[in-house]
C-alpha cells in the first residue's frame, strides 16, 4: 500500500486536497503539523508500507513545514515533498527548496492544477 501524506493545520485544506487526489488510488493520510506528520510516517513505515508523496503547508503551529522537511530529509532523500504556499509567501519557496522540497503548489489551487502537479511527481 502506498500512502500520500497531506500536512496542513487547516482541516479545510487537508480535506480539499484529499478530495482532489483521492481518485489517484493512493491511501491518503492527514496530519495537522510537522510533528504529527513525522509520527504518522513512523506508523506507516512500521506497518511495512511506503510513502509516495508528502504535501505540506509551510506555516503551521507546533512544527512548521520547513522544519518538517528538514527532519524528513534526514532519513529519506528521495520521496517527493510538495510545499503548499500562498502567493504572499514567495520567500518560503526558496526556504522550502533549501530544506529539500521537490516542488510547490500555490493556494488557493485549482483541483486540476493540483492533480497535474501531484501526478507529475508520483509517476
Amino acid at each position: 500500500m502506498k500512502h500520500i501524506l497531506v500536512i496542513d493545520d487547516s482541516p479545510t485544506i487537508r480535506v480539499s486536497v484529499e478530495f482532489t487526489i483521492k481518485k489517484l488510488g493512493y491511501q491518503i493520510r492527514q496530519a495537522e503539523n510537522g510533528k504529527d506528520a513525522l509520527e504518522k510516517i513512523a506508523e506507516i513505515q512500521k506497518a511495512g508500507d511506503d510513502i509516495a508523496l508528502c504535501i505540506c503547508d509551510v506555516n503551521m503551529p507546533v512544527m512548521d513545514g520547513i522544519t518538517f522537511i528538514r527532519e524528513f530529509r534526514k532519513t529519506d532523500k528521495f520521496t517527493p515533498v510538495l510545499v503548499l504556499t500562498t502567493e504572499s509567501e514567495n520567500e518560503k519557496v526558496s526556504a522550502g527548496r533549501e530544506a529539500g522540497a521537490s516542488g510547490w503548489i500555490i493556494k488557493p489551487f485549482q483541483p486540476a492544477e493540483l492533480l497535474k502537479i501531484v501526478e507529475k511527481f508520483i509517476r
Binding site: 479545510t12 480535506v15 478530495f19 510533528k35 504572499s88 493556494k107 488557493p108
Partner: protein, 703 residues
C-alpha cells in the same frame, strides 16, 4: 453528501474556531501589545484566507487577503496596532462571520466589505508610520510609538582583562543595561577565571551572557557599550522572534541538551563539537562532559535540563478531539458492566463459603478498577474554562464602550476544568452577570475619579476548585450594592415589612427575585433587575448556587458554586413502598417526622405541613408515582424538605436509605412524561432507581 458540501462544513467549523481565537487575541492585543499576539493574529487570518479560498468563499477570501496585507504591515512594524486598527479588525470579523453564516448571500455584504476596505485604506494612508530609528541623541522614539511591545536581546559581553586600567567598571555598564529593562536570563561566563592563587585582583576575568527584555530599541543598548566597544568582545543580537518561539509559541520541538546550551549562548558550537567528539558511547552524558571540560558550570547544565523538561512538557500535551456522545456511550457501557458485576455478586452469595469468598474477593478488585475507569472517563469530559472566559473580552469591551466606560477584563484560573456540559450552559448566566456589573456595578469614570479610584474599572472572572466543587467569581471594583436602596425596593415590592429585621444575606438574596434592582436609571443594557432571577434558575438547574458579597465603594462579588460534573450527583436514597428513589443531596434542606397537628389543609394550597412556623406544601410521592406505600399518614412516615428556585416542598417517604454517589443515566422521552423525574441510576445491587427532579416536581405540583 457530496465533496463540496463536506468541504464547506469542514470550513465553517474551522472558521468558527479561528474567529473565536482571533476575537480574543485582538481584544488582548489592545491591552498587551505583545508582538507574539500580532504574529498569532496574522497566522489566523492567513489560515482563514487559505481555507476560504479553497472552500469557495470568494468574498471572504478577497477580504481576508486585504486584512492580511494590513496585518503584515503591523507585523513588520510599519503600522502601530492602535485602537483604530483593532476596532476595524473586530468589525471585520463580524463581517466575515455574517458572510460565512449566510453562505455569502446576506444582503448588504458587498457594501459592508467596501466600507471596511475603505477604512483599511484610510488607516494605511493616515496612520503615521512608526519612525525607524530616531536620528540619534535625545529625540528617541516616544513611549507611544514604541508601544508595539517588548523586544528580547541576547547580549554577550566579555571584557579585556585590563579593562579596569582604562577606568571603566564593567559593573557600571551592566547597571546601565539593567535600567533599560528586565533581565530574563543570566549566565556568568567564568571560563577565564583562574585558580585563586593565580588571580590578579586588578584584572577582569568575568563576562556576562544575558537576555534583556526591553522596550528600548537596539540603538539604546548599543549606546551603553559605546565606550567599550571595539576592543572588547561584545555582541548584541535581537532574538525576539526566536525567544517568543522558545518560550511562548507552540512552535516547538524537542531539543538536545547540547543544542539548548548553544542556543542559550552558554556553549559555542566549537565547544559543543569538542565535547561531542570525546563522548564515548551512549553512557557519558554531554552535560557531565561540558562541566568536566570547564565549558559550563553545573548550574548552567541544570538550567538547560530544566529548559529541556519545559519543552518536553509542552510537546506532550497534545490533544485529540472526541465526540462527547462517545464518552456518554462509554459511561453507559460502564454502567452495564456494574450491573453485570452485581449479578455475579448475587451468584457469589449462592456459592459455598470458600468459593463464594474467592469470587467476592475477585469482584472487589474489579470494583476498584471500574471505579477508577469511571473517574478517568469523567476526567476526559472535563475541559478548561479559559476559552469560555476569553470570549467575554470582546463582550466587555463593546458593552463598556456602549456605556462610555473603560473596563478591563481580568481572567484568573482559566485552566480550571469543568464538565463540558456545565461550561456550555454557564455562558448565558455569566454574560448576564458581567452585563450587570458593567451596567450597575462599575461607576462612570468621573464618579470613580471623585472617589479616588482608577478611572478604568476592572471586572475579574476567576475560577477555582474547592472541596469537590468549582467556583466561578464575577468580581467588579465598582460602587457595591446599596443596601439602603435595596431595602427600600424590597419594601416597595412587599417582600419586607418596614422595620422588619433582615440580614445582609437575606437582603442580597432579594436581588434574585423578579423586579428588584437598585439602579436609579434603567439602563438599556440590563434593564430593571429582570434576568437575575433567570440567572439563578439557570445556575440551579446545573445543580449549582450563587451568592453575593458586596462592600460599599469597593465592589461586589457574585460567586457561583457548581458541581464538577453533571453526570454524577451526590444523592440521598429514599424508599417509598418497595421502590427506591434518589433525591439530589444539594436540594435537601432537612428531613423530619411531622406531628399530627402540624398537618393542615389550606384553601388553594392543598395539604401543607408546618415547619417552624412556615407552611410548606406536602407532596405524597406515592400518589404522584401511583405506587403502594408503607405509610399513608404523614405523621407515621418521614418528610424530606427540599428546595428549588426559592420554593420549598415536603416529600413524604417511608424511609431514608443513605447517601451515595450516583451516575445518572438519562431516560428516553417515551419512558416518562413526568417532569418530576430527571433520570435513572443503577444501584449497587443492580436495582434501578429514579432520580427525582426537584425543579420539575415543584413546577408539576404548582400547576
Amino acid at each position: 453528501m457530496d465533496d463540496t458540501r463536506v468541504l464547506r462544513d469542514v470550513f465553517i467549523r474551522e472558521a468558527a474556531d479561528i474567529l473565536a481565537s482571533l476575537e480574543s487575541d485582538l481584544v488582548r492585543l489592545e491591552d498587551e501589545k505583545a508582538p507574539e499576539l500580532v504574529n498569532d493574529i496574522f497566522r489566523y487570518v492567513h489560515t482563514l484566507k487559505g481555507s476560504s479560498g479553497i472552500a469557495g468563499f470568494k468574498s471572504v477570501y478577497a477580504f481576508t487577503h486585504r486584512l492580511e496585507n494590513l496585518l503584515d504591515m503591523v507585523r513588520s512594524g510599519k503600522l502601530a496596532a492602535g485602537r483604530e486598527i483593532i476596532d476595524l479588525l473586530l468589525v471585520g470579523l463580524d463581517w466575515i462571520r455574517l458572510a460565512i453564516d449566510s453562505g455569502e448571500e446576506a444582503p448588504g455584504l458587498d457594501e459592508g466589505r467596501e466600507g471596511l476596505l475603505k477604512r483599511v485604506e484610510a488607516i494605511i494612508e493616515s496612520t503615521a508610520p512608526i519612525p525607524a530609528e530616531a536620528p540619534g541623541g535625545d529625540a528617541g522614539p516616544s513611549e507611544e510609538e514604541m508601544d508595539l511591545g517588548y523586544r528580547y536581546f541576547r547580549i554577550k559581553a566579555g571584557f579585556r582583562e585590563d579593562i579596569f586600567e582604562t577606568g571603566t567598571d564593567p559593573l557600571m555598564i551592566m547597571e546601565d543595561l539593567f535600567s533599560l529593562g528586565v533581565v530574563v536570563e543570566r549566565h556568568t561566563d567564568r571560563k577565564r577565571l583562574p585558580e585563586l592563587s593565580a588571580m590578579d585582583p586588578e584584572k577582569c576575568y568575568l563576562g556576562w551572557n544575558l537576555v534583556l527584555k526591553t522596550k528600548s530599541p537596539l540603538q539604546k543598548i548599543d549606546e551603553v557599550f559605546m565606550f567599550v566597544r571595539g576592543d572588547n568582545p561584545i555582541s548584541v543580537e535581537d532574538i525576539t522572534a526566536q525567544y517568543a518561539i522558545s518560550t511562548e509559541d507552540p512552535e516547538i520541538k524537542e531539543k538536545r541538551i547540547g543544542e539548548i546550551l548553544v542556543a542559550k549562548g552558554i556553549l559555542t558550537d566549537v565547544e559543543l563539537n569538542d565535547a561531542l567528539k570525546t563522548q564515548d558511547g551512549e553512557n557519558t552524558r554531554i552535560g557531565d562532559l561540558v562541566v568536566a571540560k570547564g565549558y559550563a558550570t553545573e548550574r548552567e547544565v541544570q538550567f538547560a535540563l530544566g529548559e529541556q523538561e519545559k519543552i518536553r512538557k509542552r510537546i506532550e500535551t497534545s490533544t485529540v478531539r472526541v465526540d462527547t456522545g462517545k464518552l456518554d456511550k462509554l459511561l453507559n457501557l460502564l454502567g452495564e458492566i456494574v450491573i453485570g458485576q452485581s449479578a455475579i455478586a448475587g451468584i457469589a452469595e449462592e456459592l459455598d463459603e470458600e468459593r463464594g469468598f474467592m469470587l467476592k474477593n475477585a469482584l472487589y478488585g474489579l470494583d476498584r478498577t471500574t471505579r477508577e475507569f469511571q473517574e478517568q472517563i469523567m476526567s476526559i469530559r472535563m475541559i478548561p474554562i479559559g476559552p469560555s472566559f476569553e470570549q467575554f473580552r470582546r463582550f466587555v469591551r463593546d458593552t463598556a464602550h456602549a456605556h462610555g466606560k473603560e473596563i478591563r477584563l481580568e481572567i484568573d484560573g482559566g485552566e480550571t476544568e469543568l464538565d463540558k456540559t456545565v461550561i456550555e450552559r454557564i455562558d448565558d448566566p455569566l454574560k448576564h452577570m458581567i452585563r450587570n456589573a458593567i451596567d450597575h456595578g462599575i461607576e462612570p469614570a468621573s464618579e470613580r475619579e471623585a472617589a479616588g479610584k482608577d478611572r478604568n474599572g476592572t471586572i475579574t472572572l476567576r475560577s477555582y476548585h474547592q472541596e469537590g466543587n468549582v467556583y466561578i467569581d464575577v468580581v467588579d471594583d465598582g460602587r457595591g450594592i446599596d443596601k439602603v436602596k435595596l431595602r427600600a425596593r424590597a419594601e416597595q415590592a412587599g417582600l419586607l415589612k418596614p422595620g422588619e429585621e433582615a440580614s445582609e444575606a437575606k437582603l442580597l438574596s432579594f436581588l434574585f427575585l423578579p423586579g428588584v434592582s437598585t439602579a436609579e436609571e434603567v439602563g438599556d443594557l440590563s434593564g430593571r433587575g429582570v434576568g437575575m432571577d433567570v440567572v439563578k434558575n439557570n445556575i440551579e438547574s446545573l445543580r449549582g448556587s450563587v451568592e453575593i458579597t458586596t462592600r460599599p465603594g469597593k465592589g461586589s462579588t457574585f460567586r457561583i458554586k457548581l458541581p464538577l460534573t453533571l453526570a454524577i450527583i451526590e444523592g440521598m436514597l429514599v424508599r417509598v413502598g418497595r421502590n427506591v428513589y434518589i433525591v439530589p443531596l444539594l436540594s435537601i434542606v432537612e428531613s423530619l417526622q411531622p406531628r399530627k397537628e402540624d398537618i393542615r389543609t389550606v384553601k388553594e394550597k392543598g395539604e401543607v405541613i408546618q415547619v417552624r412556623g412556615e407552611y410548606v406544601s406536602l407532596v405524597r410521592l406515592y400518589d404522584l408515582f401511583g405506587i403502594e406505600p408503607e405509610f399513608r399518614n404523614p405523621w407515621e412516615s418521614l418528610v424530606v424538605i427540599v428546595e428549588a428556585a426559592g420554593s420549598r416542598v415536603g416529600m413524604m417517604i417511608d424511609e431514608l436509605l443513605g447517601q451515595q454517589q450516583i451516575v445518572i443515566k438519562s431516560l428516553e422521552n417515551h419512558i416518562t412524561k413526568s417532569r418530576a423525574v430527571s433520570g435513572a441510576a443503577i444501584l449497587g445491587d443492580g436495582r434501578v432507581a429514579l432520580i427525582i427532579d426537584i425543579h420539575g416536581l415543584i413546577e408539576e405540583i404548582s400547576r
